[in-house]
Amino acid sequence: MSDSIHRKLERSATGFMLAIIAAASVGGIVEIAPLFTIDDTVETVEDMRLYTPLELAGRDIYVREGCYACHSQMIRTLRDDVERYGPYSLAVESKYDHPMLWGSKRTGPDLARIGGKYSDFWHVAHLNNPRDVVPESNMPSYRWLSTTLLDTTKLPLMLAAQRTVGVPYTDDMIENAAVDAYGQAAPDSEQASEVTTRYGEGTQLSAFDGVVTNLTEMDALVAYIQVLGRLTGAAYENTAAAEPMPEPSNN
């Protein structure tokens, strides 16, 4: 009987088309729509802060160079993940991430909590030539980042576009984006204090690439790496234990 119904359906291009759309729509709607409406999908935390203009610029460099192809930013709820990298990632930690950079492959280690683990100097050395600090590494060198000046003229546009998609940057932040980028990488300057006023006391001020006289792409990328996992402390307060290993450990 089903054969004859289908025989009829096969005779109509329009009918067949609509049937395909109907069958294919259900799964996506059921799984995606509730993520916007169920409240506890993304936790609410008080101390969540925004990326500064310099960190956002660094994030865009991270995207541009395809770092996500080898480094995940998602610590799973597994014992070995948590012991190796730190508390497992919460949804709220990527609440302002357009796009998210959870990744799908670890050719290099996870970076979700890399911020603050190493010095700025270590990161600069690592990006200039990974094998200088990790002899076994197969990561490419990114030495041109130190000599390429950061284009700050587009920072206001970038912050404004981020606001359009839902990140709560204020007019003040957008207007001063370029100045704030300089201020964050020049901790002794007058502009530096304004950065902390706008983005919070927790903002890391540093001459990231070791040179305060100019603002390079290296400054931006290191500033971004150093903020990873430090936008909120919520994950450290989360007391839920990691899920047990699904099979007995082999010791």
Binding site: D3, I20, A69, M74, N250
Partner: protein, 550 residues
């Protein structure tokens, strides 16, 4: 293009001029930035096509007898483009694989570092090779199974060249650092919008051709092509919704954030596997395998079951990419459940294909082309089984983030997608150029073994490295401390990375041989023997030729 009428030539010229103007505008506002370079590419691309069009502008009006033949000119160009992108995409893949073993192979340049050439490889093979193969074969199949000529003469060219412009913009963009980082959807907003326009034209052309069919029923292969065109459009539009920082800049930010973005991304990512890399290629399987084996499809009911099963179940499966992450547990479970259920329709298709060969196994032994298709069906069954297996949460806890996933993908990409494509091409090329067979059967045979051995080396290397890496990450010493550092696991991978590059190289050499064989076949097409007496559309009212058996 000699079959275009004056009106169609004018339309083509108009479209190309508009495109050239857009190119000039992009180049002007983008100056030396990637956006401007892309403007220049658009300008040069449309300029070249315009020159080509003009060279034939005053040729005589096309012969009305063309309507009694199928419109195969775009298919011929499509075969060439498919093979070009195959070699390009696979070459970049081998290069990227080699960089993982020898990082100095980027020669200290930004444009060729791993993070930039990796998407050039994936887009090159998925969209360049796979996409062109899908468009080309769909033009071939829809005409033959509908016994009707393509509905239009201009739009097939628009679809083919428009799609290749998208590929060019996307892939050149990655080398320049233009990417939105969404895996398998890295192209930026303007390339995405262009693809939507091309895709709408493709859809209209396809449905109009189907509507002109002289067969009462829509043949199975067309179900799959239709699903591929429709669902890829939905996926592409939803996943790529983004806000550019300005209309004169390549950079944009996706409208989705965090956990929702992750879900949308893998809903797209996994269904690109389902509807780009599976549905479209199953369409090839359902047309070219029965033709080559000269056997009807084993079971009509299995065809129905697997088609609707795949169309319905796959759309739920994407969340299995996000096990143990911050994605809510209930979505992970739905994804896992449907991924396991997917095995039923997938194996229904693979089984249907292999059972179709019953009674034709002697042909499989003698005919390497048919063997390409048989191995493709076998790898399809293997990699869908593996996919369902890897989607189970506890298994995924070991395999995720490791090379096991890469191995799984390539069992599908090399063993299934590429093998079925080459099988289809080796059937299509002689048919389109009205020849009895390819230039060299021996070269097809050599290609088959290179492809098979290359795939096996690749997949076994990645299975080994992935499982070893996953196990090393979770190994604890007697005092409950992690035994291995991350670097220890990386060092253990090196021999497998070298093996992988070697397997990929064998596969690439096979593709080069295929291109040579096709080239030589086409060169000999001048001395064509005779066209098949059945290879004609049914022209209105006059049923002069026999109808093909379903």
């Amino acid at each position: 293009m000699r079959q275009l009428t004056t009106g169609e030539r004018d339309l083509a010229a108009g479209v190309l001029i508009v495109l050239a103007v857009i190119g000039v505008a992009m180049a002007a506002v983008g100056r030396n930035e990637p956006f401007g370079i892309h403007g220049l590419i658009v300008l040069i691309y449309s300029g070249c096509l315009l020159a080509l069009l003009m060279s034939g502008a005053f040729s005589p009006a096309p012969d009305p007898s063309r309507f009694s033949k199928y419109y195969d000119d775009p298919i011929k160009i499509g075969v060439g483009l498919t093979l070009f992108w195959a070699i390009f995409g696979m070459f970049v893949g081998v290069w990227a694989a080699a960089q993982l073993a020898w990082p100095a192979l980027n020669f200290d340049t930004a444009w060729s570092s791993f993070g930039r050439i990796r998407p050039a490889h994936t887009s090159g093979v998925i969209f360049g090779f796979g996409g062109n193969a899908l468009i080309t074969t769909s033009f071939h199949v829809v005409q033959r199974t509908s016994r009707a000529r393509l509905a239009d003469q201009f739009s097939p060219w628009f679809v083919l060249f428009g799609f290749n412009l998208f590929c060019l913009l996307a892939i050149s963009g990655y080398f320049l650092g233009v990417t939105q980082s969404k895996e398998y959807a890295e192209a930026e907003w303007y390339a995405d919008i262009w693809l939507v326009i091309v895709w709408i034209v493709y859809f209209v052309l396809y449905v109009r051709t189907l509507a002109r069919r002289k067969e009462p029923h829509i043949y199975v292969a067309n179900w799959y092509y239709l699903a591929f065109i429709l669902v890829v459009a939905i996926l592409h539009i939803v996943n790529n919704l983004a806000v550019p920082i300005s209309v004169t800049d390549a950079k944009s930010y996706t409208v989705w954030a965090g956990v929702q973005d992750a879900m949308v991304q893998w809903w797209y990512g996994h269904n690109a596997v389902a509807f780009f890399l599976t549905a479209g290629f199953l369409a090839m399987l359902y047309y070219y395998l029965p033709i080559r084996a000269q056997r009807p499809i084993f079971s009509y009911r299995l065809s129905i079951l697997s088609f609707w099963g795949i169309t319905f179940f796959y759309m739920w499966a994407g969340s299995h990419h996000l096990h143990y992450t911050a994605l809510p547990h209930w979505v992970q479970n739905l994804g896992m459940t449907f991924s396991v259920m997917l095995l039923v329709p997938s194996w229904a298709s693979a089984g249907n294909a292999l059972l179709t060969l019953n009674g034709a196994w002697h042909k499989v032994r003698d005919d390497a082309t048919l063997r390409f298709m048989m191995m493709a069906a076998f790898f399809y069954g293997l990699s869908t089984f593996e996919g369902s297996f890897l989607a189970i949460r506890p298994v995924n806890s070991l395999s995720h983030y490791t090379d096991w996933t890469v191995g799984h993908v390539h069992a599908g990409a090399l063993g299934w997608v590429a093998l079925i494509t080459f099988g289809a091409l080796y059937t299509l090329v002689p048919a389109i150029w009205k020849l009895d067979r390819m230039y060299s059967a021996a070269l097809v045979e050599i290609h088959f073994w290179l492809a098979l051995i290359g795939t096996l080396i690749y997949v076994f290397a990645m299975w080994n490295s992935g499982i070893i890496q996953g196990l090393m990450w979770r190994t604890y010493s007697e005092d409950s401390a992690l035994t291995y550092s991350f670097v220890d696991t990386l060092v253990a991978m090196y021999p497998y990375y070298i093996a992988r590059a070697f397997g990929g190289l064998l596969f690439l050499i096979g593709a080069v041989i295929a291109a040579y064989n096709v080239w030589m076949t086409v060169r000999h097409a001048g001395t064509a023997t005779a066209a098949s007496s059945e290879d004609f559309p049914i022209v209105d009212g006059v049923k002069t030729h026999a109808t093909p058996a379903e």
